[in-house]
């Protein structure tokens, strides 16, 4: 089965994309609104005890808001996935998560201290009093403890030692923490007691994000599975350690997958059903066919070789912002490293361009690592695009193949290109540095990390 060339599709309504700037702006506006809630409620404060207590109130409000933002980022909302990009959402979530845990801890300590100062009592006594006499504070304390635990387990040092499953399991406790902490916000939060309107709005915010989560992570995938009935039609070995899987189903064009995007694939066999792994489409999606090309790195990917045709597949997505939407210039350079060729192969096939506009650099360590080379050559010939294979062991710092001089020689007019980069992290770093040195503005370099 030869991969098809891009075909004109019937015009569809434009896809909604929320750009990173808009998303950050919305988050910022929300934070300001939350602070305004405190501002409106506070007439005056004086004295050290008041300062501490109010600092505790502000950090508490922000923490309660931040957890909702973090959940929203991970809700797999298509507009965010397409606009901000999955990898960036994950980075925001990780950084934001660290900050939120700190906010929650700061809130706890400031409130204890502030109350102790105002009541002229000792810290220990005040802690005891808060835990035992104030409603729901005990649950809130358990919540902050859970958050700290999740924070510790998510630290890079810990993650290296833990299996993904263990980390993921502990991470799910954040849901429990949020649920436990919710009630104390209303029963002891100074900005919510006696303020029905504030409580309504706050609850609405939580309900809205919960709805997003339920819809996009549970119901929509279920609906998609029933509607598209994806299944394996063929498995092809591309080289010693790479395999392509062809998946077919009904009404695939309704998924509105774009070249460059990926799905989270769950192959329903006895060994593979429990994992949903992200693999990019390695060819333009056809109304009845999708293809992914996977490098074998572990037992899961190895098992893909033996998938029987007809095996049912659940595909969540499409996700990712590594698409033609990011392009702003006429000339485009695609730089692929190793398995990073997969999304770029799809883009190479479909990115609009006149002869000479599109260039692909494919960097691998050994000749046998090349995959889909015949397709790439065919596409290059047909579109009169250029493809260069940069084969060879990595030099001392891995950058010589992608040094600025080499890039400029291979790609005339480099500084006027839009560049899409995809590959292992060190290779991407080297490529980015060379591109910047060669005068490509940062906003014209588009990348997607696989390892998020």
């Amino acid at each position: 089965m030869t991969p098809p060339s891009a075909r004109a599709r019937a015009p569809q309504p434009p896809l909604l994309r929320i750009s990173p700037e808009v998303a950050l702006g919305a988050i910022g506006v929300g934070a300001l609104a939350v602070i305004a809630l405190w501002w409106k409620d506070t007439i005056f404060i004086s004295g050290w005890g008041d300062w501490l207590t109010n600092a505790g109130r502000i950090t508490g409000l922000l923490a309660g808001y931040a957890v909702i933002v973090l959940l929203a980022l991970m809700a797999r909302v298509p507009a965010l996935e397409r606009g901000v990009g999955t990898d960036r959402l994950v980075r925001w979530h990780a950084a934001g998560g660290r900050y939120t845990v700190c906010l929650a801890v700061a809130h706890t300590l400031l409130i204890i201290w502030g109350y102790a100062v105002t009541a002229h009592s000792g810290l220990v006594h005040e802690t005891g009093s808060l835990l035992t006499t104030y409603p729901d504070v005990m649950m809130g304390t358990v919540a902050v403890g859970l958050l700290v635990l999740v924070g510790i387990v998510s630290a890079r040092a810990a993650r290296r030692r833990l299996s993904y499953e263990t980390w993921h399991f502990v991470h799910l406790y954040t849901y429990l923490a949020i649920a436990l902490a919710f009630s104390h916000q209303f029963s002891t939060g100074a900005d919510f007691i006696n303020r029905a309107q504030a409580r309504w709005l706050w609850s609405l915010m939580y309900i809205a994000v919960a709805a997003l989560l339920v819809w996009y992570r549970l119901l929509a995938p279920l609906r998609s599975a029933l509607r598209h009935r994806l299944h394996v039609v063929e498995v092809r070995q591309e080289n010693a350690d790479t395999v392509s899987v062809y998946v077919s189903g009904l009404r695939i064009d309704e998924l509105r997958a774009e070249p460059g995007q990926f799905f989270r694939w769950r192959f329903l066999t006895r060994d593979l059903w429990w994992a949903a792994n992200p693999y990019s489409l390695s060819a333009a999606p056809r109304p009845d066919l999708l293809r992914v090309t996977v490098k074998i790195t572990g037992s899961h990917s190895a098992a893909l070789r033996h998938l029987a045709p007809g095996t049912k597949v659940l595909a969540e997505g499409p996700y990712g912002s590594f698409t033609a939407a990011r392009r702003t210039r006429r000339k485009v350079l695609l730089i692929a490293g190793g398995v990073g060729i997969t999304p770029l192969r799809a883009l190479f096939e479909t990115l609009p361009g006149r002869p000479g506009d599109i260039t692909l650099l494919y960097r691998v360590n050994r000749p046998e690592d090349l995959v889909l080379a015949t397709e790439l050559d065919a596409i290059a010939a047909q579109r009169r695009a250029r493809v260069h294979y940069l084969v060879g062991p990595p030099k001392f710092d891995g950058s010589d193949h992608l040094s600025p001089r080499r890039l400029q020689r291979l790609v005339p007019g480099l500084a006027q290109h839009d560049v899409y980069v995809c590959g292992p992290e060190p290779m991407m770093n080297a490529a980015r540095t060379s591109l910047r040195t060669s005068g490509v503005p940062r906003r014209n370099i588009h990348d997607e990390s696989f390892t998020f």
Partner: protein
């Protein structure tokens, strides 16, 4: 690391700025009382025939600060606010930038908190003091005295001190 420092400093600076906006120069909270200018008023109630006074004279210094009337005085009523002690609604009188008077329109105690604060200092009996001068007491409890006895009472001495 740089980003961590930036976010921590940014948060702290933001908090301090917000709190500072809301802090007025005139502290008004239990437990932060200036020692100078304490208002101390004593009053007599009309006694039975013999020593009655028609209108209770009120001697005492007022602690209101007298600023020159450079700017117009305004009264600002705040909305009801949940504070440490319960729901408080405050009416603030301002002249220029100085707060000249604060009136609490609403003050309802929150059982938990005010109970906790109120039980802060249990009564303590001081065995060692016997002389009124050295005891630095604020008031005197004793078996009832009439207005005749008042003049010679310790309480009257205390009230005199306040009046000065």
């Amino acid at each position: 690391m740089k980003r961590v420092l930036l976010s921590v400093t940014g948060t702290v600076v933001g908090l301090v700025a917000l709190l500072n906006f809301k802090t007025h120069g005139h502290p008004i909270a239990a437990g932060t009382l200036p020692s100078a200018g304490l208002p101390n008023a004593s009053s007599t109630s009309p006694a039975q025939a013999g020593t009655s006074t028609s209108a209770p004279p009120r001697a005492g210094t007022s602690s209101r600060s007298s600023t020159p009337a450079a700017s117009a005085a305004r009264t600002i009523a705040g909305s009801a606010v949940e504070t440490r002690y319960g729901v408080v609604q405050v009416q603030v009188s301002v002249r220029g930038t100085k707060i000249t008077n604060v009136q609490f329109l609403q003050l309802t105690a929150f059982d938990q908190r005010s109970a906790e604060i109120n039980s802060a200092a249990a009564p303590i009996l001081l065995q060692e003091t016997l002389s009124a001068q050295s005891a630095h007491i604020d008031t005197v409890s004793g078996a009832s005295y009439t207005s005749d006895g008042y003049a010679q009472s310790l309480q009257s001495a205390l009230d005199q001190v306040g009046i000065k």
